[in-house]
């Protein structure tokens, strides 16, 4: 069958596995006399990568044209209309921090602390853990009013408090998911199920990125646990995988294997990459799989990252004063370090920077997951770094075109959790999809305001509800997109981040 009789020295089973390794592509190519490749070849000619979506777009006024050179899929494109935000830093507090211990001051809840929850609040509700009749629980930390805006805030965030007049609160956020993974997926991809592109992927798909030597969408996790939603939270779904978020390590080297092996010179590496690219191009010409061209682009990116990524991620290059401001310590996997890295990445033109913190799931079922212990630590871990990030962005004039978003995936109940009917020494609250608080700051949002309102117990939204898809529409608007028109044809539908349900830009918070 070939010049080399591999079968002679191979066990039959190994030979079988080699045969199984052949793909359907090769079967189509060889068995049908190349008919398969002819078919795919025609497809490829009429629909080169990336352009495939946009070429259809030309025939429709309802889709933004994102045509790019297929070899430069991250090339920066102008927004659809004048944008206030050039980049986003999204701080996701995985586990869902309690709004009632941070920003939502509810004096009535103090008065009703310890009383049975009225049946009207429980009728028709599903909880993750609460059973029977739980007791209402007042805020576990004292609140005070501060700043020119007169926002209420608890005593847990003394550093962030100084920036209160720069923050724009939405206290009427709502979701329809009450478990972490689907709720996080909804917040990050607009859909509670797997397989949809994340917010960051959509943004980089639509806008590209300013620095071609770094990925356009970078994800940093502050040690501890991965968010429950997993890596799909920054996945590219049905968009080309070049728009996937790139997770960099939070401890040790941020990117592994940035250096070529010691016996490979830069020129040799270049030669090897040229050969890989050419072979992949041949493969693409034969089979027309757009992901092959994506791979070419990713190999080119890896080469450029070898030059630039180390410097971008290395907080050694910051002064001790700056590191102290954030509470960042060299070598630690911490939210503080990540906030400092986020500022460095933003300066270098990275479009979407996503930070995940963890451990906010304060049920009260154990010390780590409680409002009296774990929650206190979480607040300490994020308070100073976020304040430092805000300060530095402002000092450098970057807050004007950087959008900061802070929030979890749902809220927490006004009732104390009574898991299995037990009350433990720790206090906690269950998941509440009915109301939660997020804040935004920077580019294009009104500073020092509060949008929306919950009832006197902070349990349900009573004024100006904001759905997750409304938040997405607003973020896209700030970046210069009509969320209806940033869409991609998949499974017979013009897929949008904001789904098929109606969504609106929250104009009330726009500056």
């Amino acid at each position: 069958m070939s010049k080399f009789d591999l079968s002679s020295d191979l066990h039959p089973e190994r030979r079988l596995s080699a045969l199984q390794a052949q793909t359907r592509r090769h079967f189509l190519q060889s068995a049908a006399g190349g008919i398969g490749s002819l078919f795919f070849g025609t497809m490829a000619a009429s629909h080169p990568l990336i352009a495939s979506a946009s070429e259809i777009a030309k025939s429709s006024s309802e889709r933004i044209d994102v045509t790019r050179d297929a070899r430069n899929p991250l090339g920066a494109l102008p927004p659809q209309f004048a944008a206030r935000a050039k980049r986003v830093i999204y701080l996701h507090m995985a586990g869902a921090p309690s709004q009632l211990e941070l920003f939502e001051y509810k004096p009535d809840l103090i008065r009703l602390d310890g009383q049975d929850c009225p049946a009207s609040l429980l009728a028709g509700k599903r909880f993750a853990f609460i059973t029977g009749v739980p007791k209402l629980m007042g805020p576990q930390y004292p609140f005070h009013q501060t700043g020119a805006s007169g926002h209420w805030i608890s005593d847990r965030l003394p550093h962030l408090e100084k920036h209160l007049d720069e923050l724009c609160f939405i206290k009427s956020m709502r979701t329809d998911q009450f478990n972490h993974a689907p709720a996080q997926l909804l917040v990050q991809t607009g859909n509670p199920r797997l397989g949809y592109p994340s917010l960051g992927s959509w943004v980089v798909y639509g806008l590209g990125t300013e620095n071609q030597n770094l990925p356009g969408f970078i994800v940093l996790i502050s040690g501890g646990n991965m968010p429950d939603g997993g890596k799909q939270l920054w996945g590219s779904g049905f968009l080309p995988s070049v728009y996937q978020g790139v997770q960099c390590r939070s401890h040790g080297e941020p990117v592994l294997y940035l250096n070529s092996p010691s016996d490979v010179s830069v020129q040799q590496r270049r030669n090897v990459l040229d050969a890989i690219d050419e072979l992949n191009q041949q493969n693409y010409a034969s089979f027309g799989n757009p992901e092959t061209v994506t791979r070419v682009a990713q190999y080119e990116m890896s080469f450029r990252m070898q030059m630039d990524a180390t410097d971008a991620m290395d907080i050694h290059n910051e002064s001790e004063t700056v590191r102290t401001k954030y509470g960042a310590k060299i070598g630690e996997a911490s939210f503080a370090n990540n906030c400092l890295v986020a500022r460095r990445l933003a300066e270098r033109g990275v479009r979407f920077i996503q930070l995940y913190h963890w451990g906010w799931d304060s049920h009260g079922s154990n010390a780590a997951d409680s409002l009296n212990v774990g929650f206190v630590k979480r607040c300490l871990e994020v308070d100073q770094p976020i304040a430092a990030l805000l300060t530095e962005l402002k000092e450098r004039g970057m807050l004007e075109d950087t959008l900061l978003v802070w929030g979890g995936e749902f809220g927490r109940t006004s009732m104390r959790e009574n898991r299995s009917g037990q009350v433990t020494q720790f206090t906690g609250r269950d998941h509440n999809p009915g109301a939660f608080t997020i804040w935004m700051a920077g580019a294009g949002v009104k500073p020092g305001i509060t949008h929306g309102q919950t009832d006197e117990l902070g349990y349900e939204v009573v004024q100006s509800p904001v759905e997750i898809r409304d938040l997405h529409a607003t973020i896209l608007y700030l970046l210069g997109f009509d969320h209806h028109k940033l869409n991609y044809p998949f499974q017979g539908l013009d897929q949008k981040l904001t789904s098929v349900k109606s969504s609106r830009v929250v104009a009330e918070i726009l500056a």
Partner: protein, 148 residues
Amino acid sequence: VKRTSGYPSFLIFDGSDRATSLARRIPTNTPLQALVTLNDPVYDEAAQALAARVTKDIGGKVSDTENALDLKLAYEARLVLSRDATPQELSVLRGLYEMTTKAPTGPVLTRASMKSSAGVSVGSAQRDFKALKAVASVLLNMDAALTR
């Protein structure tokens, strides 16, 4: 032993950290993955071992140098791709091979066993090996090899 401390290469390829089960593996393709298959010592040594295997299996058997090179490259490609390389692919591999043998020699390769075939100087055997290793690295990084 920390069970949730995954093997870094697997994590870069979006493997689970084993703290949670995975309902589905998502398609994944990032520049960090390219850095793994290009620079991770595991893949570097794999390329080296592949070059050593080609040298051992084909090296001494053919006297005609030109023909020997064609055979080596075809064999090397077949081992990785489980199919015969096309003439166009072989021409790219040959181009890289020639460029690498002409390049100024860097630090000499270490661990692999290198037997110089009769009549060939050690210097040229080393250049041959280094070029075969570069070819191996290319093969292991081809989309056709990485995507099944």
